[in-house]
Symmetry: C2
Subunit: 351 residues, 2 copies
Amino acid sequence: MTANPPKTSVQSAAEAAMRADKAVVIGLNAAIVTVSDNEPKILIVPHDEAEDSGGWDALPFGPFNPMQHRTLEIGLRSWVQEQTHLELGYVEQLYTFGDRGRHSLEADTPGEHVVSVGYLALTRGHDEDLQGASWSDWYRHFPWEDWRDGKPAIIDQAILPLLREWVSRQAEATPDELSRGKRRDRMRLCFGVDGVQWDDEKALERYELLYSAGLVQEAARDGRPNALALAGHNVPPLGRPMQFDHRRILATAMSRLRAKIKYRPVAFELMPPAFTLYELQKTVEALLGLHVHKQNFRRLVENAGLVERTGRMSTRTGGRPAEQFRFRREVLNERPAPGLRLAPSRSRANS
Amino acid sequence: MTANPPKTSVQSAAEAAMRADKAVVIGLNAAIVTVSDNEPKILIVPHDEAEDSGGWDALPFGPFNPMQHRTLEIGLRSWVQEQTHLELGYVEQLYTFGDRGRHSLEADTPGEHVVSVGYLALTRGHDEDLQGASWSDWYRHFPWEDWRDGKPAIIDQAILPLLREWVSRQAEATPDELSRGKRRDRMRLCFGVDGVQWDDEKALERYELLYSAGLVQEAARDGRPNALALAGHNVPPLGRPMQFDHRRILATAMSRLRAKIKYRPVAFELMPPAFTLYELQKTVEALLGLHVHKQNFRRLVENAGLVERTGRMSTRTGGRPAEQFRFRREVLNERPAPGLRLAPSRSRANS
DNA sequence: CCTATATATACTCAAAGTGAGTATATCAAG
DNA sequence: CTTGATATACTCACTTTGAGTATATATAGG
């Protein structure tokens, strides 16, 4: 056992090549999520109103210093703690993007390439000392993702007409039936057209679709061809844009969290120590952007052994008081801890 | 819309700090998987027998050059193509590790920190011009992961006794009941002790457990305390070790692939254009390291609309000829394409 | 040709899980 | 003490799932 295992010829060649001009800086970006007042919120750093363009929202981020921190996650926790004083519960790596600014060609300063690693972090903290950062409803950036009050108007009024235009555009450029079908299929699967039903977990795919159709402002910023220039349409802003690839990272966070909540008990990271089942449900619904069936939700949560009664009652106004529960942390050690594998409620009857 | 959105004070500070000594090199590592002869195999680059220690297997890897390639995945595909001439079908990013060599302190050359991005790639190619690389059964590196012939002997004979030792060791160091329970719970959940049942998707967790218990050779290489030095035990090698963190990346690939196969139709990337349902089943079983119920597997695959008949029959020897099927690529456009969500067969009766 | 053997494929059935609803309990306000 | 609101319990049809039995079609050997 040597500390320096021998290298093969292929490896040596590769490593030698590395030392050349391939150095990059790692940017650690965090989508820090909390839920309050039944709305999912993310932490954004303040934008500079003084400059032109109004300034775009940004996720908090910091560089990774390999000399100081052993792992990426340690590095992330360290500067988040430093900058926001927030206590992060759950932290999960999302994805590493090599094209942070998506290569807006003009803006590509040589010798300073940034690769961004996106993280999802959950917190219930509402620490007020956020150093100027603030909580922002994540649906402001993705207005089409919140179906709790029915299908968002922006889909039928803006998104679908624009996407249909984009589909037929390709029909002109490449008139073969196959590739036109591709654009149409992407639209169908993402936004649930003709019989395909809405999938809350496709948040990332939807954003990526809008980006490649040139319908979000980031696409124009990056100089994508035809971005926002659809003939005969005055394209309204589809959600608030963000700096660099931050909205893409946020979309990744949404997709991952919406999926994860269904098979791992992560929702509890967002809850106070004691909560009613309805409060838990409202938190889940906020994240999913969907309603779930109340009675079945109870059954699910209780049968899975995820919670235990506290005996205390909630002193809410309105109706019969609800019992407060707490998360049974032991489930994590009992079995491969399940999540809230729930199907959205189809009837709109049950809240 | 400017190409250079304004930066906030927080951001500017952070970016300035980046330019200092935080440069790293990105290493792209690929776990390239194929299945042949009912065994999952990964591509490894040859190790150098001339040096001491016998030389450890390594995954193929190459540096990311941001000037040359727009995205990480493009960079990966490019050098894999160059080095192996393999045609990669499915490619998926796995994880980004900041501690490639897990900081074996002596070996940490300053100024050349490598962050490794792991990829999973699937191919059915058996291209012979592999430039010296070769296919290697992945269970050679993880002998405890193959349960197709029943529980692997290495678990009861070596792993569990060593882990029990490790559990009781902590009992001495920190005699409080709680943290002893932690080690025990980890062992239970990972290796399916007292009633907990084996979970094929926990491959990464199991490897990480063995690493932190100091039971794999990589732990010794990295200078972990007490690695491989459990009192009174002559620790046999638990699977073939690999260079750097490559076995960790491979374990990540196994976990991800085993999970993914159940909810996305990725298994077909490993199949020839036409195949019998039993061949498909054998491929899946090879990946999972488990048997599935044959009749139910058929029902599942057919009902999900994942395949269509070709009419041709397999000319195999043995019994009634099986019909050949092909993957219905259209499912990808019809609905949120499902996978082979299968449960392992509990009775050992059905093959 | 007949039979043993091996594999492929079809069908059955009970148990568990799921979606959606009805019924009942318990509070506050008027 | 009724109304309205919410909490919680229970029901029921339907689907899915795990596991088995039954039948079909090949080869090999007498």
